[in-house]
C-alpha cells in the first residue's frame, strides 16, 4: 500500500523532567489546555495535512497511550488503508529484542514498518510540542528544493538560542551549519525537532549510524551532522506561528497559560481543528456562588468556588469558597472547600483537602515557582504546600 509520506512520532520518553507528573503515564498523553493531550497536536496536524499513516514509537508505560489512541477514530484515522500504529520494541527471529536507545535507533528498529508503505518521504515528529503546522506545505518546500532533509526552524531570542539545535543557512535557505546547544550560537534559527527526510536517504544514514559504536543514535547529534558533513542538501523550513516545547514543569505551566490568550494560538479555528478523545461527561456547572474569569473550563467540571487565570480539564471539582488562580487542574482532580491553589499544576485525580493551601504567588514575575501535585496524590485538609514543592503520587494503590 503505497503512501507518498508517512509520519513517525517519537513518543518514547518518560519525560523525566516533568517528575511526579509523568510517574504514571508517558508525556505525550499529558493533559493540556483543558480538553487536550499533548499528542493531539501532532496527530491533528497530520490529519489536517492529509497524512494518514502515523507510527507512534513508544516504550514507556504504553497502556494509557494505547487506550487513548485506540482505533484513531477521534483524529479521523480509523481507515482501512492507513491509521495510527503503536510501535513498541519487539523481538524478532534470532534477536532477543532491544530497547530503543536513541531517537534515530527507534526509527532504525522500525524500518520494516515504514517500508510497508513504500513512502518517498518520512516525517519525523515528537510528542512534546504544542503548535499548529501544515506539514503538506513543508513537504511542498522539501520537494521544490530537492532537499534530502528539511528541518522546521523558528526564530528564538538569541539569548535563549543555546538551549536549542541552532542552524545557519545560506542566502537561499539551505542549512550550512548545525550546532546542537551551542555555547555561542551563530544564529537565532532553532530546530523545532520536526524533520522531513527522503526515505531512502534517511534509511542509508540510519543503517550507517547503527554501525558506529560511538554514536548516540540521535537525530540532532548524529544523523543531521552526518548528512551535513556528507554534503546532502538540508533545507530550513521557516515557521512563524506559535510553538512551545512542554518538556519541563515551567514550560508546561507557561504554555497552558498561553492558551488563555487566544491571540497566540487559535484553538477555536474550525479550519484547523485540534481533535481529542473526550470522556463521557455532562456539561460543566457553575454554581450559585461561583466566580469564573479568564479561564478555560471543560465538560464534567463542577465549580462552586472562585477560578481565575486557570486551565481546567474535564471532571474537575472546585468546592465552595475555594480559590484557584494561575493554576492547571488536570482531569478529575478535586479542590476541597476553602482550599487555595495558586501557581500550581494539580495532576489527574489528585485531591486537595478542605482549607489546604497549595503554592503561592511570586514576588515579581521572574521569581515564579510552580508547585506540582502528581496524579492520584493527596494533600491533607488545612495542609500547606510551599511554592515550588513537588508532591508525589502516594494515595492510591494503583
Amino acid at each position: 500500500m503505497k503512501k507518498e509520506c508517512i509520519a513517525m512520532l517519537l513518543a518514547g520518553g518518560q519525560g523525566s523532567r516533568l517528575y511526579s507528573l509523568t510517574s504514571r503515564a508517558a508525556k505525550p498523553i499529558m493533559p493540556f489546555g483543558g480538553k487536550y493531550r499533548i499528542i493531539d497536536f501532532p496527530l491533528s496536524n497530520c490529519a489536517n495535512s492529509g497524512i494518514n499513516v502515523v507510527g507512534v514509537l513508544t516504550q514507556y508505560q504504553p497502556l494509557q497511550l494505547n487506550s487513548y489512541i485506540g482505533s484513531g477514530q477521534p483524529w479521523d484515522m480509523d481507515i482501512s488503508r492507513g491509521g495510527v500504529y503503536i510501535l513498541p520494541p519487539y523481538q524478532s527471529a534470532g534477536s532477543k529484542g532491544e530497547w530503543f536507545s536513541g531517537t534515530a535507533n527507534a526509527i532504525y528498529q522500525n524500518i520494516a514498518f515504514a517500508d510497508l508503505w513504500e513512502p518517498e518521504y518520512v516525517l519525523i515528529l515528537s510528542g512534546d510540542h504544542i503548535y499548529k503546522m501544515d506539514y503538506a506545505d513543508m513537504l511542498e518546500q522539501h520537494k521544490e528544493h530537492g532537499a534530502d532533509c528539511t528541518i522546521a526552524v523558528i526564530q528564538v531570542p538569541l539569548e535563549e538560542a543555546s538551549r536549542f539545535g541552532i542552524m545557519s543557512t545560506d542566502e537561499k535557505g539551505f542549512v550550512t551549519k548545525f550546532a546542537e546547544k551551542p555555547k555561542e550560537p551563530e544564529s537565532d534559527l532553532a530546530s523545532m525537532g520536526i524533520y522531513i527526510f527522503t526515505w531512502q536517504k534517511l534509511k542509508k544514514y540510519l543503517i550507517e549510524d547503527e554501525q558506529n559504536p560511538q554514536s548516540e543514535k540521535d537525530f540532532g547529534k548524529n544523523i543531521i551532522p552526518n548528512m551535513l558533513n556528507s554534503g546532502e542538501k538540508l533545507w530550513a523550513y521557516s515557521f512563524n506561528g506559535y510553538w512551545r516545547d512542554v518538556g519541563t514543569i515551567d514550560s508546561l505551566w507557561e504554555s497552558n497559560m498561553d492558551m488563555l490568550a487566544p491571540a497566540l494560538i487559535d484553538l477555536y479555528d474550525r479550519s484547523w481543528p485540534i481533535r481529542s478523545r473526550s470522556p463521557i461527561k455532562p456539561p460543566h456547572y457553575i454554581g450559585e456562588n461561583a466566580e469564573i474569569r479568564h479561564s478555560i473550563v471543560t465538560e464534567g467540571c463542577d465549580i462552586r468556588g472562585t477560578v481565575s487565570n486557570s486551565v481546567l480539564s474535564s471532571g474537575v471539582s472546585v468546592g465552595e469558597g475555594a480559590v484557584v488562580n494561575y493554576s492547571i487542574l488536570m482531569p478529575g482532580c478535586e479542590i476541597g472547600k476553602n482550599a487555595i491553589v495558586e501557581y500550581s499544576i494539580i495532576g489527574e485525580n489528585a485531591v486537595i483537602g478542605e482549607g489546604a493551601a497549595v503554592g503561592s504567588p511570586p514576588n515579581g514575575m521572574s521569581d515564579i515557582k510552580i508547585t506540582t501535585c502528581g496524579p492520584d496524590s493527596a494533600v491533607n485538609a488545612s495542609a500547606r504546600v510551599e511554592a515550588g514543592a513537588m508532591i508525589y503520587s502516594d494515595r492510591r494503590g494503583k
Binding site: 489546555g33 483543558g34 480538553k35 477521534p74 488563555l260 487566544p262 484553538l267 477555536y268 481543528p273 485540534i274 481533535r275 481529542s276 473526550s278 463521557i280 455532562p282 456539561p283 460543566h284 456547572y285 457553575i286 454554581g287 450559585e288 456562588n289 461561583a290 466566580e291 469564573i292 474569569r293 479568564h294 479561564s295 478555560i296 473550563v297 471543560t298 465538560e299 486551565v311 481546567l312 480539564s313
Partner: protein, 371 residues
C-alpha cells in the same frame, strides 16, 4: 447480554413543541447542553446489555440519522443485532400522515418484530428524559410472571399523560385509568414497557386485523379485558416527558439542580451521546457566570445566570443572559439582553438586541434565525 430487544418510538413530533420540532422529531430534540432526548432511551438500553435496538421513524428523520450514525457511540454498532433504523416499509401510499398510535407504528414494522431473536422486548418513548435501570426492570418482569411490565414514575411523570395503573396487593395491576380523576395509589406510567415478544406479536396482529391503532386505548385494554395482568415497576429517578415547550423549558431548568442532574447523569449508568470534538470553553476577563450549565466549545465574554448553553455558543461582551436555553453554535452579540429565551441552533442575536419572555411563555427563536 440480556434476552431483551429494544424498540424506540421516534416518529413523533409533538405539536405543542412548536418551532422546536419543525426541523426534527421530538426524539432528536437537543437537551441539557450536549444531548438529544433519544440518548436516554439508547443509553438505558445499552447499559442494560441490550444488543439489538430498532428505532421506529417516519418523517423528518435526517437529524436522527445524523445523530445516531451506526450506533457506535452507544456500543450498538454490532456484527449481529445492533442499531436498526426502521422507516415504514412496504406501506406504499397507505399512510402518509404521522402514525396515529403506537400500534400502527408497530404494525408498520411487523416484519422486523417477527425476526427479533430475543424473547422479550422493551418499548421506550424517544421523548422521555429518564435514566431507567432496564436490567432491574427486566429482572422484575421475569420474577413477576406477568407478560407485560409497565415502568411507572413515583411522581407523575412531568409533562406526561394521565394513564395510570391501580396496583393490586401483589403490586401488579388489572386496571388502567385514562382520566386523571384521583384514585388512591394509582401509578402513572412512563410508557416504557417490557413485554414478552409472543404477546407483542399477538397484540400487533390483533390490532392490525381489527383496525386498532393505539397501544393503551386498544392493545392494553384488550389485553386487560382478556384477563391479562400488568406488572408494575416503580422508577424512582428523575422522569420528564417532553411534549410541550413548557415541558422542554422546565426540564432544561431542572438540570441546573444538582439533585436532578446527578440522577440523570451518573458514572454507573452513563448517558452516551454523539461525540463532537471541540475545544474547552473559554471565559474572558469580564465574563460572569452563575448557576449555569455550559458545554465545551463556548466562548463567553458576557454574563450568564441560570442558563443552559450548548456547544460552540459565543456570548459577546456586555451580553446578559438570564434563564435562557441557547443551542449549538448560536452567537449572542454585544450588549444583547435575553431572558427566558430558547434559541435553536445557529441563531444569531445582533448587537444590542433585547428579548424577554416569561417562565410560562419562553420565547422560541427558530433554527438559523438571524435577529
Amino acid at each position: 447480554m440480556a434476552d431483551l430487544h429494544g424498540l424506540i418510538y421516534a416518529f413523533h413530533s409533538s405539536p405543542a413543541l412548536g418551532d422546536l420540532v419543525m426541523p426534527r422529531t421530538s426524539a432528536s430534540l437537543p437537551f441539557c447542553s450536549r444531548y438529544r432526548l433519544i440518548d436516554f432511551a439508547l443509553s438505558s438500553m445499552a447499559n442494560a446489555g441490550v444488543r439489538g435496538v430498532g428505532v421506529i421513524m417516519q418523517r423528518d428523520y435526517q437529524s436522527l440519522l445524523d445523530h445516531m450514525g451506526s450506533g457506535k457511540d452507544w456500543d450498538l454498532s454490532r456484527l449481529s443485532g445492533g442499531l436498526r433504523l426502521l422507516p415504514p416499509f412496504g406501506m406504499h401510499g397507505s399512510s402518509l400522515g404521522e402514525y396515529k398510535g403506537g400500534m400502527e407504528a408497530l404494525s408498520a414494522v411487523r416484519a422486523y418484530i417477527n425476526d427479533i431473536k430475543q424473547n422479550y422486548v422493551v418499548i421506550f418513548r424517544g421523548d422521555l428524559a429518564a435514566n431507567i435501570d432496564l436490567k432491574d426492570v427486566f429482572d422484575a418482569h421475569l420474577s413477576s410472571g406477568c407478560q407485560i411490565t409497565a415502568v411507572c414514575a413515583e411522581n407523575a411523570c412531568k409533562g406526561g399523560g394521565d394513564i395510570r395503573f391501580i396496583p393490586d396487593t401483589q403490586g401488579n395491576s388489572k386496571k388502567m385509568l385514562f382520566s386523571n380523576f384521583n384514585e388512591n395509589g394509582a401509578l402513572s406510567t412512563t410508557e416504557v414497557y417490557v413485554i414478552n415478544k409472543s404477546l407483542l406479536v399477538n397484540l400487533v396482529d390483533w390490532c392490525h386485523s381489527n383496525g386498532k391503532l393505539h397501544f393503551h386505548r386498544d392493545a392494553l385494554t384488550h389485553y386487560l379485558n382478556e384477563g391479562g395482568t400488568v406488572g408494575l415497576y416503580v422508577h424512582k429517578g428523575y422522569t420528564a416527558r417532553i411534549c410541550s415547550v413548557s415541558d422542554y423549558y422546565s426540564a432544561n431548568m431542572d438540570m441546573l439542580k444538582a439533585e436532578y442532574r446527578n440522577d440523570l447523569f451518573n458514572d454507573d449508568n452513563p448517558i452516551y451521546t454523539k461525540g463532537r470534538s471541540s475545544v474547552s470553553t473559554y471565559y474572558g476577563e469580564d465574563a460572569f457566570s452563575r448557576n449555569s450549565l455550559v458545554a465545551d466549545g463556548c466562548y463567553i465574554e458576557g454574563e450568564l445566570t441560570n442558563c443552559v448553553l450548548f456547544r460552540g455558543v459565543r456570548v459577546k461582551k456586555g451580553a446578559k443572559l438570564k434563564d435562557c436555553v441557547i443551542m449549538q453554535d448560536s452567537v449572542v452579540g454585544e450588549n444583547v439582553s435575553l431572558s427566558h429565551v430558547i434559541a435553536d441552533k445557529y441563531t444569531v442575536f445582533s448587537d444590542g438586541l433585547a428579548l424577554s419572555g416569561s417562565h410560562v411563555l419562553p420565547i422560541i427563536v427558530p433554527k438559523c434565525k438571524i435577529i
